[in-house]
Amino acid sequence: MANPSLKPQRKRAFSVANLPGFTTIAIVAFVALYLPIITLAAYSFNASQSVAVWGGFSLDWYAKAWANDQVKDATVRSLIIAVSASLIATAVATMAALGTTRRRSFKGQTFIYVVINQPLMVPEIVSAVALLIFFSSIKVATGYTGLGYLIIAHAAFCIPFAYLPIRARLEGMDLSLETAAADLYATPWQTFRKVTLPILAPGVMAGAMLAFVISLDDVVITEFVKSGGQDTLPTYMLGQMRRQLTPEINAISSMLLALTVVLLTLFFLLTRKNDQ
């Protein structure tokens, strides 16, 4: 299968790796992934009040969303929760990954593994309902209704997302490097600091970013756990979708989308620099 994007002096392995039809399916998949997002962004510039009719180019909906205090509050709240939760999740997940790999398998290791991955196995709506029941009684008992509930709930379901890439990185690691360091009289801490951690860093980064995104993306658990006036951006938007749709939702979505693209680009540039 011809592929114009490849340079003529490509390696032999690439021609071997071509499977019939795969490139076509992949290109269709990419178009299908992007077409809806682009449509959504295009309609955010619609002057018309309705989302159905195109009424010419306008930036009104961005101005409206920008001036909307509810949107501002929700954005800040989303970021606070995502940063706190992903930091907690990554810290405890890194420790757990170090604790469950590269040592003789021990009794209880499977138990730890199952507990850590448990949020992945349980449908989100079930976790949401469970947290609603548990936290609502704590709220009544203690009177505390702050963001703490959302942060700890987010941290919990982010743990497996942080844990898996870190663990994968650790498992793929060459143990002989650490043995070599130990043979050269490095202390366990020196070995960890100078050998293990630098190799582990991309895994930790990947884990932290996954956790951050998963937290920022969350609708269901937040919708059930939040107290009054604790809307995050996703739950605010879900609430708006119940009412009449206006391109304001498109404008908010597009801004979030732009933020995503900027963050991702930064991440890619940073990691590329690190690799060299």
């Binding site: 994007s5 490849l6 032999r12 690439f14 071997v16 790796a17 499977l19 795969f22 490139t23 992949a26 998949a29 299908a32 992934l33 809806p36 997002i37 449509t39 959504l40 989302v51 405890v92 997940a93 420790m95 757990a96 604790g99 469950t100 040592r103 003789r104 021990f106 290791q109 730890i112 507990v115 850590i116 448990q118 949020p119 992945l120 196995m121 349980v122 449908p123 989100e124 709506i125 079930v126 976790s127 309902v129 029941i133 936290f135 700890i152 941290a155 919990a156 379901f157 743990i159 994968a168 995104v213 609708v219 879900l238 979708m241 939702i249 498109n250 979505s253 979030l256 991702l264 590329r272």
Partner: protein, 304 residues
Amino acid sequence: MSSPAEQAQIAQSVRNGWLLSTPALIVLAFASLGPLIIVIVYSFLAPGKYGNVEWAFSLSGWRGIIYTKDIFSDEYVLADAHLAIFWRSIKLSFLTTLTTFAVGFPTAWFIATRAPKARAMWLFLITIPFWTNLLIRTYAINEVIRNEGLMNTVLLKLGLITQPIVIIYTDIAVFIGMTYVYLPLMVLPLFAAIDRFDMKLLEAGYDLYASRWQVLRRVILPIVKPGIIAGSILVFVPSLGAYVTPRVLGGGKQMMIGNLIDLQFGQGRNWPLGAALSMTLLMIVTIALLIYVRYANKETGGHG
């Protein structure tokens, strides 16, 4: 065999393993596993008048899944609506997993076999939708398939149809939506698995006169299987418990289990039924995972 010093070292290593894992276990016990156990308890209690529960043992929650009290005769009759919702959830999730794999595997393969620079670009393109909020993506697909959306507008303009194709608020809309939003979850683990795949094995396969199909079936699939399992789990589990996508694209009519559970904690005000439904959903997911793991193990055994 091993000296006391070695044994002490092993014991120390195990202790460290537990110590390092403890913080994660505490967070999960408090905000994930513990609450789940409370749901089991709640499913055996009686519903309170205004939501919540009354602390008395009752099987009404569990009975309510299959039977419902007839309003007129006060007799228990089969809750057809519930069973239809369960069937729809399983059917749509299965279709979604299958479709995302059929599309996701070639996509992941395509990305993994590009030259390094191009590969980074394609990977970047798949991570953007992955990073984009699920609600936004659901809303985006809504913009395409709704009656006055992109698809119908284009088809009408081209004169291919005279009436808009109505798929919004149907099972098809929910299926398209879930396939769309969960596709990156399938592609990324598949990519990770294919990326580790040694392409020299393909040359070996072809050198030994294997056909493309044989190479795919006998060489590639067994090696990337961990990625396939991971991808399928990552798609199937959230599909079965989907809440946002059926709510937005199903329009409250084409409910899935997730929406039925939500109903019990909102308008329905029947927490024990909601708890019992949650546990049922959890059991279906667990059974699906067990079947899958068993099947996966058998496959590996057959090759060895």
